[in-house]
């Protein structure tokens, strides 16, 4: 009997110790997410953006996006609307996570440099800011804490390191098995829920990395949402060195 109790205690202790050893910290979860992030040098994405207003009315916009990993967690991208008519051909160039952002509007045949705070303005009526389109939410920009977990998810809290951030904190739900964020709640500096980003569809590639195929961003305050759906992705496509340039965004076709 005594030996039985000792064995149970030993097993429980072992479980506790191994649990402590293998439980992931918030930082490790973010590292794992980073490791599962799709690796590419260059990428071409074709998809659709659906804007949903407060009354539920939808307006669809087709787009093509080219992106390039510049190293040091910097991404350059070119984003062009293919429809509808009033924004067709409008093209954004973001160099190295928005160090410089240019907008080309074919009607004016002119390339405009966009100022710093414009990066936090909404892009062409969507709920995404220029910053959102320019890069992700890197670990270096946030203090992270693991707030809990269950069978399927980790729950993280991210506090922006920048004092002038528009967000007070982010609550992130991370899939335990595939290590991608399923949902992020963005809170303003007063602690009120502002936006919710949800991932609806992903594809796990052979190397274990995760590609997001459909996500939505809802602005809770304005009761407005943007849904992004990817219809095709090509990776590591050959692009000339000077592709991400003002020259390219003035072309009739990309």
């Amino acid at each position: 009997m005594k030996r039985g109790i000792v064995l149970i205690l030993f097993v429980l202790l072992l479980l506790f110790v191994t649990g402590c050893v293998f439980a992931l910290t918030a930082s490790e979860i973010l590292d794992e997410m980073e490791a599962r992030r799709t690796r590419f040098t260059t990428q071409k994405t074709v998809g659709r953006i659906v804007l949903v207003d407060a009354s539920g009315k939808e307006e669809a916009r087709e787009m093509v996006m080219y992106s390039k990993d510049e190293g040091e967690d910097k991404v350059s991208l070119i984003f062009r609307f293919l429809s509808p008519a009033d924004v067709k051909g409008v093209t954004l160039l973001s160099l190295r996570n928005g160090e410089k952002i240019y907008l080309y509007m074919p009607a004016y045949k002119k390339v405009r440099l966009i100022a710093g705070s414009s990066k936090s303005e909404k892009f062409m009526g969507t709920d995404f800011t220029y910053d959102d389109l320019s890069g992700g939410y890197g670990k270096e920009d946030y203090e992270s804490t693991l707030k809990g977990e269950d069978d399927t998810n980790y729950y993280l809290e991210l506090i922006p390191k920048k004092a002038d951030s528009k967000y007070g904190k982010l609550s992130m739900t991370v899939d335990k098995e595939k290590f991608y964020f399923k949902k992020i709640d963005f809170f303003d500096t007063a602690g009120n829920l502002w936006k919710t980003l949800e991932v609806h569809e992903v594809r796990e590639r052979e190397d274990g990395s995760i590609q997001i195929l459909k996500l939505s961003l809802k602005d809770v305050k304005e009761n407005h949402a943007t849904i992004m759906e990817v219809s095709s992705i090509e990776e590591d496509i050959p692009l000339p060195d000077d592709f991400f340039s003002v020259r390219t965004i003035q072309r009739p076709t990309l």
Partner: protein
Amino acid sequence: MKRFLAGVVVLLFGCVLGPVWALETQGNVAAFSSYSFQERDLDYGIKVNFSSTIPLDSRYFGNVELLLKYQDENNIRPLRVREVSFQGVQAPWDTTDFRVGLLEVTWGASDVMSPVDVLNPRPFSRDLSADVLGEKIPVPALDFEWYLNATWSLEFFYQPRFVANFVPEFVEKQFLLPSLLPFGVDPQRTNVVITRDEPPVSFSSPIWALRARGSMGAFDIALSYIQGYFLSSYPRKTTITLLPEGLWDVQVHSGYPKRSVLGLEFQGTLAGIEGLTLRGDVAFVVPEKWMHTVILPQGGEVQIPVFDTPYWKASLGVDYSWNNTYVNLAYLLGNFWEEGERVSPYGYFHVDWQSEDGKWKPFLNCVTSFEDGSTVWMLGTEYKPRGNWHVTLTYSVSSGAQGSKLGSVGEGIALEVKYSF
């Protein structure tokens, strides 16, 4: 009759463009009207903008942009070509792009009345809206750009035929007659005949321009040089004759003086001031010496200098955006129509705010002449009721003495309804 003509224009549009509808096309249809409270005059019209790009292969394209415009008066012509061009991208070499054909070329970084954006002439308009101020007349030209690397390029522009601004003759006479008052001419009893000598522009003696542009830190800059002619005519010789019935006969010989324009463009941000962008264009204009000789009815002549010395023009602005609000403040030295000693300083202010649902965008524009204090205010809103529909309503009012720079704009209201396709 006018309504009938408007209908014909729309039908014509359908017939002409129907067959090419299957191509990659886009454009818009806009109906516009404005009412002047002073003159109790209603102007109205309809315009169709249409553009199509025809990919010939991955590097060569055909571009067609048409503007079909009916307006009840002062229209240059109902069907205007905005651009018909053959375009090469990374062609004929990887480091070069070109366009050749009837071109619209936009130079300059500033948002308002760039003094370096003078390669294309412009149609006449009394309207001061950005949409109308942006209208240009295309020119036959080659625009060739050589990219030295990802940030620096050298552009060459070659134009073998001269094209002038479109100014209705009655407007030209309105400008001319006051200058003849000192010679005793009665504008009410005067017959004016204007003849214009076109400048000798040809394949071997073209209008040409060079522009080097690139990036330096947070600023994009460009340096340009244009060798060409003024796009509006200036009188060279005016002969005034007093006819026996007490009428005046005025024969005006006009021409287009030569000019060289050295330009600087820049746009950039300042570290530490987020949301702020500086944009500006500066032009140093060296005109041909131009003298207006007036032959007086009693014999003898008077020499009036039109262009004597080089002069500066500029548009220097700063814009700032935050929370869907956009503010633009600019200092203008000269407008599109002022040259030489007529160049005068203006202040420009614009603010707009976009509603959270993106449907409303109220705006305020203000232009003030620093020379005489005359001012134009434009207050309005853009409204996007659904999809591709845009409505713009503008109320404008001016202040200033008779004959001041902006006082004659008066009070009016304008409405435009646009559908993009």
